[in-house]
Each structure stands twice: as C-alpha cells, then as structure tokens.
C-alpha cells in the first residue's frame, strides 16, 4: 500500500525507483514496503486467530514499525506476542481402550478415551518475540541488511542474527542476493529433557533425564537472483541451505510400543517411550516466485518450493495469490496453497517390543510423516485515500496424512493412525503512519 509522504519532489521519485529495485531483495527484507520518511513512522499491525478443530488455539498480535533514518536507510522493528492453548498429538496411536499418560511435568496424568488420537491437553504458552532490521545502501548498487531476533516462550528461547547483501546489476534489471543467518536456541522443557527412547514412566515414577535444558544451532545460507522480466513481471529464484545441530528432538513426543505378536496390542509393561531424532540435519530448498500484473491491474503472485533434507524428507509447495482490484480502493485476494510432504526415514507410527534397542532413531511426530496440507482463503482489503489500509482474511487449512501400513498391525488396522487436522485462520490488519495515528488519537480525545 502507498502511505502519504511528507516530502514531495525528486526524493519521492527516487523512493519509487528505489522501491522498484530494492524490492528485488530476498523475501526476508522488508525494504520494499518501507516508505515512511521524514519524521514519519510506518506502522503495520495484524491480529491472527488460529484454531484447530478440537486441538490448539492461538491468538497472535504483530506490530511492525519502520522508519527512514537517513537517505534510503531504514530500520524496522517487529514485535510479536502470541498466546497458545489446547491440545497437541503426543505421538501415541489410538487404542480400543482408554490410555493414561504421564504429564511432561511428571506430577500428574491425563487419560485419552478409547479410539481417539491421544492428545496432550496441557499446552499453554505465551511467546514474545522481537525482530530488528537495519537496511542501508552500501554503494549506488549494493544494499546491506543486518538483523537480530529474540523469541521467548516459557520453555524455549531463540536468539539469532542475520545479514544479507543485494547487488543490482544489468542496469538494475537483476539483483543478486546472498544471505546468512545463525540461530542459537535452547529448550527448557517442563520436567526436563528426557533421554531418547527412555520409558515414559507411570506416575509417580520419574523419567530418565538428560539434563534440564538442551541447545541447538541452526545456520542458513541463501543465494538468490531476482529478475525484472518486463514492465509487468518480475521473478525470483532462491537456493537455500541450512544446517541444524544439537537437540533436534521434541521433548514432549512419545511413541507407542506394541507386542511382538502382530496383535496390535500395546506391550504390557512400559508401552510408551520418548522419541529420539538425529542431532544433525541438513536441509536445502529451491524456491521460485513470479509476480505479474495483468492489463486490468489484477496481480498474480505464484511461488513453488522444492525442499529436501538428509532425514529423507522431501516436499513440494505451491502458493497462489491473485489480487482483484476494484474501484474505490477495495480489493479481494483469493489464496490457494498446496503442500505435499514425504516422511522422514525414521518416522514410525509404532514400534514393536525391544525395537528401540536396535534402532538409532524413531519419531511418531505427525509433522515428520507423509501428508498433504491444503489451504483455501480469501482476503479483503481497503485502502483509504490518505494511504492507510485495513484488511481481513479468512482461511481454512486441512492436513491429511497416510498411515504407515507396516506400523498398523492387528487391531490398529481399525484405527486412524495419522491425526488428520482441520484449522481455521482469521486475520485483521491495519497499516498507517505515525502522523495519521496521532491525528486519530487527538480526534478521539477532543
């Protein structure tokens, strides 16, 4: 959206041109939308409500403020708070009888009804996050961006830094981008870090611990090319490579262990064990995006990502947004997303008795399984004459997975092992600048 600019004249023309070229930076940069100048701050805000059917609900507020601090030099701060509550699959499979699990704290139990996906009902979380970016020209054709981020949950801390360079070449028709980031995260799970494959003890016994907290490091590099194709079209291709090392396991996920007789019954003693994942992961992706404006001013935004890693996961993601512009500043934007994922090599929905002594790794986390996510949504936006914008969107997300046949033995053939999911998303957004905000506040108190 276009915000009212305080200054008029050549500098604004330069901003428009800069936006056209600087907007070619890789997606992490927000430079393209930063047009606040002078004493004015640009303010973007959004509130998201996300609710899964019978599972997790989340409310997330985001506030982003941006300012031009010098000629073509910008700072941006994004503040995020989210509140999560509800249930999440714990990794165990449904059973024809009720199942009782020990809470992560080890201080109580919860029971899942027969023939239901076992869910951990104790999830409550408050997350606060801050991301700061400084985007500056380093020469007439080179821009640099430095960023830092910190995110805090009651059981997780994430801190990171990132840097990227964007070089315009070919008379600013092409932008070459290189980006680097390093993240240092720490798990501080409720009840401590369980030993991989350790038994989930029956309350009041305590689980075997591998310490109170655990660290992981994630490093990423991105190489990108953005190309102006013609007056209405631009495209971007990125190659990313990331490496995670350290504690990559989910400390709250468990696996069901069955008897060896093919009955599908849980083994009689210690039927649940904690999952165990490799402590290294290298992942890569190729990402393509095209943006095209049609003669009727509608805009197509289409992207495709191919992702693969050394855990055996491969995925394809297609994302399509098509914006219809109407008279008077109104627009509608349908959104379709299709995501298809293959499972990790060590993904198992169940284990059989003693198998944990021969396997190196296993996880029943559905997010490592084979599934398809489909999203359909619609966004409505309205741009005021002064440049402010409000928007709303509603989306439905469905996730359907495949049961791993080798794990669905005996009685389990009558159960749905993959926990299909359905979620709804509602979002409202408001963008304006600080001048407008002050005027609105003054008007309100008059």
């Amino acid at each position: 959206m276009q915000l009212k600019k305080k200054r008029q004249g050549p500098r604004n023309i330069r901003h428009q041109l800069a936006a056209a070229t600087c907007g070619l930076l890789a997606g992490s940069s927000h430079a393209s939308s930063l047009i606040a100048s002078g004493d004015n701050w640009k303010i973007d805000s959004a509130l998201l409500i996300y609710a899964e059917k019978d599972r997790v609900s989340l409310a997330e507020g985001v506030l982003s403020i941006s300012k031009e601090i010098d000629d073509d030099e910008f700072i941006n701060a994004r503040i995020v708070t989210d509140v999560l509550t509800g249930s999440s699959p714990n990794g165990a499979v449904p059973s024809s009888t009720a199942q009782t699990f020990t809470n992560p704290s080890g201080n109580s139990t919860y029971t899942e009804a027969a023939n239901s996906t076992p869910l951990n009902h104790t999830f409550k979380d408050l997350r606060n996050a801050l991301n700061v970016e400084w985007d500056t020209p380093l020469s007439r054709s080179l821009r640099g961006t430095l960023g830092g981020n910190i995110s805090r949950e009651y059981d997780y801390l994430s801190t990171g830094i990132s840097a990227s360079l964007a070089q315009d070449i070919n008379q600013r028709h092409t932008t070459l981008t290189v980006g680097l980031s390093v993240n240092k995260d720490t798990w501080d799970p409720v009840g401590g870090v369980p030993v991989g494959f350790a038994v989930m003890p029956t309350y009041p016994a305590k689980k075997a611990l591998d310490g109170a907290n655990a660290d992981k490091t994630v490093k990423e590099i991105l190489l990108g090319v953005t190309q102006i194709i013609n007056r209405q079209t631009l495209m971007q291709i990125n190659y990313s490579r990331g490496q995670g090392s350290g504690y990559l396991t989910d400390p709250y996920k468990i696996l069901s262990v069955l008897e060896n007789d093919g009955s599908g019954n849980l083994r009689s003693t210690n039927p649940y064990i904690y999952e165990n994942r490799p402590d290294q992961r290298t992942y890569q992706s190729l990402y393509w995006k095209g943006v095209h404006q049609f003669p009727n001013e509608n805009v197509l935004n289409l992207s495709y990502r191919y992702f693969w890693d050394d855990w055996g996961i491969q995925s394809h993601t297609v994302d399509l947004r098509y914006r219809f512009d109407f008279d008077g500043g109104h627009y509608l934007q349908p959104h379709l997303r299709y995501y298809q994922q293959g499972s990790a090599d060590f993904y198992r929905q169940t284990l059989t008795d003693s198998e944990e002594t021969t396997l190196s790794y296993a996880s029943a986390d559905y997010r490592l399984g084979e599934f398809v996510t489909q999203t359909i949504g619609l966004k409505y936006g309205f741009a005021f004459k002064n440049g402010a914008e409000i928007n709303f969107r509603a989306e439905m997300i469905t996730q359907k997975g495949k049961d791993r046949r080798a794990d669905a033995v005996g009685l389990l053939q009558n159960q749905q092992l993959f926990p299909d999911n359905e979620a709804y998303l509602l979002q409202g957004g408001l963008s304006l600048d600080s001048d407008m905000l002050i005027k609105y506040i003054m008007r309100f108190f008059k």
């Binding site: 393209s32 939308s33 949950e153 990171g160 008379q171 590099i221 007056r231």
Partner: protein
Amino acid sequence: MIKTLLFSTFISLVLSACSLEPVQPWDRDLLAQQKMQLVADPLEIYLDEHTYFSKEASSGGQGVGGGGCGCN
C-alpha cells in the same frame, strides 16, 4: 536428484519462455507498487510462515533470519 533436475529444467523453461524486455527507470511505475512486491504484505507472510513452520517439516526458501520457536 531427479526432482532437482526436473525443477531446474522447469525454471529454465519458465525463464526462456519469458523474453526479457529492458525496463527503463521511468517505466517502473507498476513494479514500484506495493502489490507488485515479492513480499507485498510482510506481516501476512510472516504469520503464514510461523503457522506452517509449526505444522510441517519444511520451512524457509524466501529469505534468511526471523528466528525459531518450540511451536506445537
């Protein structure tokens, strides 16, 4: 590897199908519009990435940085 080659071929075809036309600075009015940016609504994309990061094993591709979370 085969899929990588297929993807590369697809990208090459897409690029070759689009004849590159020089666009002078004074003709970049459309490209300068906010709706024509690669990330037209950064908050919407941020919220989407956070949502799917929590529900899928793949993430990233558009940029670097942004931070992690222990999301469920």
